[in-house]
């Protein structure tokens, strides 16, 4: 058995225990790895297990629920998994996860994104921190945050700004507490559409060819198989990862016909971030709803309300809000205009 410990800014600590922790999991949480930890928030056991489904509510012919306990079998595309969570509401949560071959192969999705990432966010939110699906870059302790749906330009904006001397805080998720952003440096997800010149320079010929093959697989399978190239941001030359910074402005990114940026109300930003957060919580959004259906008075049923309260609380400071539309061909020219608008906003 291999046991690895991870700590996120000493706020949330977790352990992964498995016979074999694959490369795609390693690269994802490389920057959080620590030697040993106490006061663990959750433990993830990977591999086959026997569920403890005695005295359970059995819902929808699928979900086994009892107080603080959840078990189900589920699938998405070609991946299948069974997951058991015990001590859902406790200080230390225990997660058992077993996936099929495809699930292990695409561990970054079925193990990291679907389960571990969710529990990191879950634990952070319950400690009063907001976790936002956004990228964030900082200069002179002034951070810009770019929340958006996937594919609207988070990573691209971050990489362009890195080229202009901005420091990196996160490109997929970031942590916010009382106007201060904490970094969340997980692996960058590179695909052909967000491959901009800065990243391309840092790719070896081998990696570039692999990217083309992955894109071909994506097209041939009509979007069914999408393999991201994972890169640790700390290994990209010219990208400096910093620990924390003060939030200065929020640019909510969306796709449009041409570049356009306008001031926005905080209500719009809050509701967009919250909807996005729910959409990103697949499949646990559904699992929590199932749990709330049986235990409507549990603290789990209040989880999304807690997120909303946290977000309003944590954004409450001297921050400016903008709504920015980016065209589909997001090139250097568009970025030049965007950066101009950003620095005028200062």
């Amino acid at each position: 058995m291999i046991e690895k410990c991870y700590s996120i800014h000493d706020i949330v600590k977790f352990k992964i225990i498995s016979k074999n922790i694959g490369r795609r999991i390693n690269v994802e949480y490389d920057n959080f790895e620590v030697e040993g930890i106490d006061n663990i928030d959750f433990v993830v056991y990977l591999g086959d297990f026997t569920p403890h489904n005695e005295n359970c509510h059995f819902i929808d012919q699928t979900y086994y629920l009892k107080e603080n306990y959840f078990y189900c079998k589920d699938s998405y595309k070609f991946g299948k998994w069974k997951v058991q969570v015990s001590g859902l509401d406790a200080a230390e949560t225990r997660i058992n996860l077993s996936t099929n071959f495809i699930g292990t192969l695409a561990a970054d999705m079925f193990i990291c994104a679907f389960v571990i990432d969710f529990f990191i966010r879950f634990k952070l939110e319950r400690k009063g921190y907001s976790v936002i699906h956004a990228s964030s870059m900082s200069k002179d302790n002034h951070a810009f945050m770019f929340p958006s749906q996937s594919g609207a330009g988070k990573t691209t904006t971050a990489i362009y700004l890195a080229d202009k001397g901005y420091d990196y805080l996160g490109d997929d998720f970031i942590i916010l507490r009382k106007g201060q952003i904490f970094s969340y440096p997980t692996a960058l997800n590179i695909f052909t559409y967000n491959l901009n010149p800065v990243i391309k320079r840092n790719l070896s010929r081998m990696e570039r060819t692999l990217l083309k093959i992955k894109n071909a697989i994506y097209i041939v399978t009509a979007g069914k198989i999408k393999i991201f190239t994972k890169m640790n941001p700390k290994h990209i030359p010219g990208l400096k990862v910093i620990d924390k910074s003060n939030l200065k402005a929020v640019y909510l990114l969306a796709q449009g016909d041409k570049f356009e940026t306008n001031e926005a109300k905080i209500e719009l930003i809050v509701s967009s971030i919250l909807i996005n957060q729910k959409l990103e919580s697949f499949p646990f959004l559904k699992y929590l709803l199932e749990y709330s259906y049986v235990f409507p008075n549990s603290s789990i049923a209040q989880f999304w309300k807690v997120c909303e309260r946290n977000l309003k609380e944590n954004l409450k400071c001297d921050v400016k809000f903008y709504y920015t539309r980016l065209p589909q061909n997001y090139n250097g020219e568009v970025f030049y205009k965007f950066r101009e608008a950003m620095e005028c906003g200062n």
Binding site: I59, D60, Q61, K77, Q149, S150, G151, A152, Y193, A222, G223, K224, A254, Q255, G256, D257, Y293, R325, Q328
Partner: protein, 233 residues
């Protein structure tokens, strides 16, 4: 090329048009509300068949969903099916749905128009909600102008219990999957085709039926509906 018109308790009118051949299931789902003749300005129009989307200028979300004001478009695969859907009047005004898609395999060949109708339900729900009616997930039956609603997650014997009510106590059927609740506490029927799974039959050994029996049962149930307006107790 065929066309079906529905009128849901004079609250909503629905029209389904298709360029394909009419299949067995075309009129199955909402047949209780079927009206002969044409409906003027239906609240919902569902066009089944290939269409050309008009998603220019829409905001593209997650490379898949095209959203404009009052407009939605997406192309998706999943659950053994593949479809393309476009909705005009997504939020307000009359709604037009263009749908093209089908299940993979034998289901798709036999019942090409069945899947399209699955997409009608959330739109009907939304339209009713805006008129202060609530399309509730649950089954209901009534006797002497008193309605009983059974609600709960799928698989908690709603249908089975309801069938017992109908069979043993001469109750009248209001709906199996959905019913419409009105502000004043009355319930309106919403009888759609029944969903019977093997687990529904575990507790009712006497009701082991095949597909033709199911269809017979459906017509039987349909003929027992006499009025459609009862008070809930």
């Amino acid at each position: 090329m065929w066309e079906l018109n529905y009128n849901i308790h004079d609250l909503l009118t629905v029209k389904i048009c298709s360029v394909g051949k009419k299949d067995l299931t075309a009129n199955l789902r909402y047949s209780y509300f079927a009206k002969s003749g044409c409906v003027d300005e239906p609240d919902i129009v569902l066009n089944i068949g290939p269409f050309k989307s008009s998603n220019d200028g829409a905001e593209i979300i997650a490379h898949r969903y095209f959203v404009k004001e009052n407009y939605f478009y997406c192309k998706e695969t999943g659950n053994g099916a593949k479809w393309e859907i476009e909705i005009f009047g997504f939020e307000k005004g009359n709604t037009v749905i263009n749908f093209f898609g089908r299940y993979h395999g034998i289901r798709g060949i036999l019942f090409p128009s069945f899947m399209a109708q699955e997409f009608l339900l959330p739109i009907i729900e939304h339209k009713l909600a805006r008129k202060n009616y609530f399309l509730m997930h649950g089954g209901a039956a009534c006797k002497n102008n008193m309605g009983f609603v059974l609600t709960g997650r799928p698989g908690v014997w709603k249908t089975t219990l309801l069938m017992d009510f109908l069979r043993t106590d001469k109750y009248q059927f209001l709906g199996d999957d959905r019913v419409i609740l009105k502000e004043d506490g009355s319930v309106l029927s919403f009888p759609t085709s029944l969903f019977l799974f093997s687990y529904t039959l575990i507790n009712s050994r006497t009701e082991e039926r095949d597909i033709s029996d199911n269809l017979k049962l459906l017509f039987h149930v349909k003929s027992r509906i006499q009025a459609n307006f009862y008070l809930i107790q």
